[in-house]
Amino acid sequence: MVTRGFTGRPQRTEGAVPPGQYVTSDFPVLTAGGTQQLPTRAWELVVTDGTTERTYAWASLHDLGVVDLTTDIHCVTHWSKLGTTWQGVPVAAVLEDAGMADEPYALATSYGGYTTNVLVEDLVDHDAIVAVGYEGGPIPAEHGGPVRLLVPHLYLWKSAKWLRGIRVMPEDELGFWENAGYHHRGDPFLEQRYYGD
């Protein structure tokens, strides 16, 4: 059944953005509640393969080399934001420094308990960063600051806010939304929204 006259959001565009997405100029705050307020000095990232672990603080993460990244981002709730600029450390550099780039699967964990699974190849062979800045400033807490994961070629729920850990594993382990019915990989250009898409 089609509702005559209902078009969804007016700015929906075809072509440049993944199917089913509309372009927005604001940065909608997506929240499941539980926004974390973390001072930078209290933040740390634990990278582990289950037997050994490496811990990074704000400064030791920066020592790995911060890059600028300009990218489009796509949320499964149908908005895309084009040309956002971020600063961060490539996840490839972090996993390499930790000596943990060889396992196939990863689970990102957040302060507050959120989790999401990502293929290691999606972290190291694409523009995935451990983001420490947005548009030249700090990342606002509601957008996952001080430090969030950014995997821009996948739906944004893969880009864990308030990043606390990356665990690499030989087997896949589903995260928060993936367990609840969302797609295990989440490629917006293939419109992999839900499990089975």
Binding site: V29, A32, G33, W177, A180, Y182, Y194
Partner: protein
């Protein structure tokens, strides 16, 4: 905008509503009216009606949180042809 007017605004960031918002989808799963069902939170033990939970709609699915401790009690994913309900932090459901 002053604080008084703010009260009547729907804030993009202030996103929780209450359990009435997920009652329709939950009723489908439970086969009965859902707002009066009493949940007990497995985290803090608080007992409350579904209608009194805090519901976050501005995320991939719908997140139902305990009004006392904010633990995530239920996840609801309302797909075009499938409804998926994940029980998270619930110790007890009591049907009146």
């Amino acid at each position: 905008m002053n604080a008084e007017e703010d009260l009547l605004s729907v804030h993009p960031e202030d996103v929780h509503v209450d359990g009435n918002a997920i009652a329709g989808a939950m009723s489908l799963v439970l086969g009965r009216e859902a707002t009066m069902i009493v949940l007990q939170c497995a985290e803090c033990g608080d007992r409350h009606r579904v209608a009194e939970t805090r519901v976050y709609l501005r995320c991939p699915g719908m997140v139902v949180r305990c009004p006392a401790c904010s633990a995530c009690e239920v996840l609801l994913v309302d797909r075009p042809h499938r409804l998926q309900l994940t029980l998270m932090s619930i110790r007890l459901m009591e049907l009146p």
